[in-house]
C-alpha cells in the first residue's frame, strides 16, 4: 500500500504521516510531494493507492492537481487535508472527484473515519 502526501509544509507532511501511523497504517509506503505540480509527476511515477493533498499550495493548488488528474483519466483515490473546510470547498472538492475533505486540525480518529473505507 502506498500513499502520496502533498503539502508545501514539510512540518505538515510530517504530521500527516505521523497521524497515519497513529491511526494504524504504520506499514504503508509514503511518497511526499511539495506542491500540486510535484504531486502530478510523482503520482504518474509511483501509482499510489491514495493521495492526501493540501488545498493551498504554490505552483499548483490541490484542487487544480485533482482536476488535472481527472482530465488525464486518472481515477486515483484523492482526499484533501486542508486548513479550511467550508461547505463551498467541500462541494467544490466533491464535484472535482475528491472522496473526502479533512479540515485541520485533525486527529487519528478523523483519519480512521475518513480513510478506513478507502484503504480497507
Amino acid at each position: 500500500m502506498k500513499i502520496l502526501v502533498a503539502d508545501d509544509s514539510r512540518v505538515m507532511r510530517q504530521i500527516v504521516i505521523r497521524t497515519l501511523r497513529q491511526a494504524g497504517w504504520d506499514d504503508v509506503d509514503v511518497v511526499e510531494a511539495v506542491d500540486g505540480a510535484d504531486a502530478l509527476v510523482k503520482i504518474a511515477e509511483e501509482d499510489p493507492d491514495l493521495v492526501l493533498s493540501d488545498w493551498n499550495m504554490p505552483e499548483m493548488t490541490g484542487i487544480d492537481c485533482l482536476r488535472e488528474l481527472r482530465a488525464r483519466g486518472s481515477a486515483v483515490p484523492f482526499g484533501f487535508v486542508t486548513s479550511e473546510g467550508s461547505p463551498e470547498m467541500r462541494e467544490t472538492a466533491a464535484e472535482a472527484g475528491a472522496l473526502f475533505l479533512i479540515a485541520k486540525p485533525f486527529t487519528a480518529d478523523t483519519f480512521r473515519d475518513q480513510l478506513g473505507s478507502v484503504l480497507a
Binding site: 508545501d8 514539510r10 512540518v11 504530521i15 493551498n56 486548513s83 479550511e84 473546510g85 486540525p105 486527529t107
Partner: protein, 160 residues
C-alpha cells in the same frame, strides 16, 4: 465596507479555536491559557483572508516560545538540533490553521492566502488581539482588518 472584526468575533471564540489547534498540533495535553500578552518582541507568522471581511490572522510568539513550540509539534528530543526553517514552518502552519478556522467563522465566501513569516503589516483600527500563555510563554493571536493600500498617484510624463 464590512462589519468590524470586534462585532464578528469575540475573544472566547478565538481562544476556543486556538485551544483546539493547540491540542491537535502541539499535543493533546497542551493547555493554552487565555489572557496575558500582547507579545511586544516576538516572531510572527500570518495568513490573509479575502472576502466580505478581509484581513490577516497573525500569530506572534515570544522568542522563548518558538523553540519549545517547534520541538513539541515535531516531537523532537531535547538534544536534537532545530533548523531555523522548521521553526518558521511550524509557525506558518499554526497561523495557517488558525486562519482557516477563523475564516470559517467569518462571513463568506472568502479565500485564504499562503502563510508567511516575518514582520506582519501594521494593524489599523479594525483589530482584535487575543493574548494567551503556553507553558509560561506569552503569545498573541491578532485578527486584523486589511489596512488600505497607500494611494498611488501616477505621474504624467511630459515629453519635450
Amino acid at each position: 465596507m464590512s462589519a468590524p472584526i470586534a462585532t464578528l468575533l469575540d475573544d472566547e471564540t478565538v481562544n476556543a479555536v486556538a485551544a483546539e489547534v493547540w491540542s491537535a498540533l502541539v499535543g493533546e495535553d497542551e493547555v493554552l491559557v487565555p489572557g496575558d500578552g500582547p507579545v511586544a518582541d516576538g516572531r510572527s507568522a500570518w495568513v490573509g483572508v479575502e472576502g466580505p471581511w478581509s484581513g490577516l490572522v497573525v500569530l506572534t510568539c515570544s522568542a522563548s516560545a518558538t523553540d519549545d513550540l517547534t520541538r513539541a509539534v515535531l516531537q523532537l528530543a531535547p538534544a536534537e538540533e532545530l533548523a531555523d526553517e522548521d521553526v518558521d514552518d511550524v509557525l506558518r502552519e499554526l497561523a495557517n490553521i488558525l486562519g482557516g478556522n477563523v475564516k470559517s467563522l467569518l462571513p463568506g465566501p472568502s479565500t485564504l492566502g499562503l502563510p508567511q513569516t516575518g514582520t506582519p503589516p501594521q494593524p489599523g483600527t479594525d483589530v482584535r488581539p487575543v493574548g494567551a500563555t503556553w507553558r509560561g510563554h506569552p503569545l498573541t493571536i491578532t485578527v486584523q482588518g486589511a489596512t488600505e493600500a497607500p494611494v498611488h498617484h501616477p505621474t504624467t510624463e511630459v515629453t519635450p
